[in-house]
Amino acid sequence: MATTPRTWIGKDVQRLEDPRLLTGRATYTDDVKLPGMAYAAVLRSPQAHARIVRIDTSRARALPGVFAVITGDDARELSNPLPAFCAEPVVEYALAVDKVRYAGEAVAAVAAVDRYTAEDAAGLIDVEYAPLPVLTDPMEAMKPEATKVHDNLPSNLVFEKTLSFGDVAGGFASADRVIRRRLRWHRASAQPLETAGAVCSYNPASGRMDVWSNTNMINYVGWLVAGTLKVAASKLSIKPMDVGGSFGSKHVLGKVIAIAGMLARRSGRAVKFMEDRVDNLTACENLACDRIYDVELAVGADGDFKGLRIKVVDDYGAYFQFGHGTHGNALAQATGPYRIPGFEYTVQCVLTNKCQQGVFRGAGSDANNFALERLVDAAAQELGIDRVEIRRRNFIRPDAFPFKMPAGNIYDSGDYPKVLDQALTMAGWNELRKMQAEARAQGRLVGIGLATAQQRSVYGPTEFWFWYDAPGLTSVPESVGLSLGPTGEFIATMFSPFWGNSPETVVAQSVAEEFGIDPGAVTVTYEDSLHGLPSAGPGGSRMTVMLTGAVVGACRKLKEKMSRIAAHLLEAAPEDIVFGAGGASVRGVPDKAVGYDALGLKAYWFKLDLPAGMESGLEARHTYDHPYLTMPSADRKDLGAFYPMMGHGAHVPVVEVNPETGQVRILRYVAVHDVGTVVNPKSLRGQITGGITQGIGMALYEQCLYDADGQPLTASFMDYLLPTAQEVPRFEIGHVETPSPFTEYGVKGGGEGGRMIAPAALASAVEDALAPLGVTIDELPMTPERLATLVEAARARR
């Protein structure tokens, strides 16, 4: 392990973001208020699948205080279809055109003097629907004779493909046994406490559209949003806002921006559209993957893994705008931390009459971890090998890194036995086994879970397209600007927003590390889409890696100019200049020094004191590209390196299950993560405990339910249940640090591991608790009803 002494990286630095958040002085999207601003409300379809026969907006338009009413016809005139990352011709407008494809789809929108009036007016819009057959079961929807969700597509099976890596057939032929499971991972929703929204202001004289929105990719896909809004990209300013959580759910937000933008054009006023919770639960872009897995693991008699087959049907809902990236994502670590020489992955993407999928923390790798860990537990059980032992036998060995997994992705570094050992030690595995035996003797069903799984970080964009034959985009950069002002103050500029994480703190810590100054002395600002350098923003656990990389690059450039100025002033050579808390000095001659204030002042105000020919000012900008991305092979037998900063974690939860009520109580939760060099232990701990809590939600409570008519049954927080402080235990968190060889400081991303691993670990724990009854867990969430039913069935079998 690298032993570079560091001053700030690795320290519990207090977050720079906190003071404004704690005092109610942050600026979230809903806090924006412009002169004359109107407020929008949306009328949503009560039908899951229907032709729109007629819309009458006259009563709404006649209501005093109403400035504009728009429908699908207006959307076709005022906007282009929403950005789509799929190759298939799936067309989606922000307001339904001609037909509705899910209950909750926006049919019309109103701008009025206040939200109350806007909602009144929405209630006065009369829509006549001609209902169509509703598809809620993907297995039915993919049949050729099924009613089509999109008439222009050949069928609802919008995409289907098998990719095969290594000698899969040989692996299965040489196996002593094949472990098979059908597993169900239902759709959940990110549900940040701040819904999605936008304020748009359009100036018809200049053609400029100003947008305040909690979207992420302002300097990555902002130009695509310009296309939707029918404005020139050079006239679209999307402002970075404080964002009240995202968890992957606010990457583009084309719908809310388009609705506010169209109403702004039509009304001639600034318009705010904030989703309410029902909007967000039924019609956001952030419902997560919804998969039926048929999985097979080929094993030898001694427990060696020889091959893996994953066949997955994914219910995408009514649109396919975000494509099958979550399956590309899963491929990055499909074989987990294990040596599996070959695997095959078949995906069938199906359209149904539900709100469409987007991305939620874990992004498909969460579900794959669940499937793989369920298989590993099943293999242990069927072979009579201990769950810990079978994992140890199959772990990639610590001396095998960088490791190329069968699909071609690179695992940069890792020490999986060490992580496992630490988790078992912290949990007291053997004592837990004794405690469990005693509990069982008293008739209590206590279970100990184990999951050892990957947490890939720093996505490469090839994952969005390598399923297709044609190549696609390869840039996914992040940029930072850094200046030393005329008063000697450091100002860093980001081009992606605060998304509820800690980017300002990461930037300040990195600048402080490079210059030897205090992180509190760094001011961090943001730029909009008109002024930004290319930056994809948070997602795929990339931000800490990408920001540290961008900052180190910017510091290097800034230091170069500062060294030349300091050397000129101190009559030394630039290569002898070093930087510290107070300023620049000559190496080994500390009293030959110039402070940051004097350096700044000279750079901006005293041109004639600068080296000949040098420009005034001190600013550097650096764009940090993906540190390790390679092209997939043309035959897609090798997908290249695309998600190589491979974190790892081992979770050991302890649960007690009440077999009569089906209630699960979490008694303890131990989690050990290795995400490379830890930048800020305290903020990483928050990411882990928060992620595990979302994983607890996934495992026990959260599911977006629809009835047979496609009506959403979980349209409020009274039905879609998030864990509260009473459902989660005090977490016991440990770290192993295996630095990445490919990133600055050896950092890997740690934003998703909690949610990627906890569902698998809790399934393992509950199954272990119910082992005396012979219950297997193949489906999440493990609600009281589901568990009680399983227990009842198991008892009936005996």
């Binding site: 704690l22 109610g24 979230y28 809903d30 406490l193 819904t195 309410d276 919770r277 927080f717 509260t724």
Partner: protein, 165 residues
Amino acid sequence: MTRSISLIGLTVNGVRHELAVEPRRLLVDCLRDDLGLTGTHIGCEHGVCGTCTVLVDGASVRSCLMLAVQADGATVTTVEGLAPDGALHPLQQAFREAQGLQCGFCTPGMLMLAWELLRDHPAPSEAEIREAISANLCRCTGYQGIVDAIQLAAERHAVPAGAAR
């Protein structure tokens, strides 16, 4: 449609306001939109998430479930009232040190709940803290940092017992 308008008076963070509002106007919209106190956030508008929690006559209230006209004559404290000059209140300082927040959206509501808890129970157990804050949702932290922050604030007597707001 004719609208009725009610005149109300309320004291928010020590400042007296007189307003004309529709009877259906929610207290949270009155605070945010009419008075510009955007520190109080809206999370669900159906009384589950607690993001909009403020103190009305000293008791925590979901301001999305209360009408502005019901607050006529009341004294209201919002997060802005905890730190009127922008310097962190000791409770806020404890949240910062223990990382009782991440995105900050639920934070104002959590702070108001915590303030009420510590006023009434100066030395709460972890179970009591969890019970109290389970009234509100946080989607970022897993609650551990919030629990730790409230414990830290209790140790420091950040909120005087029985303090009036």
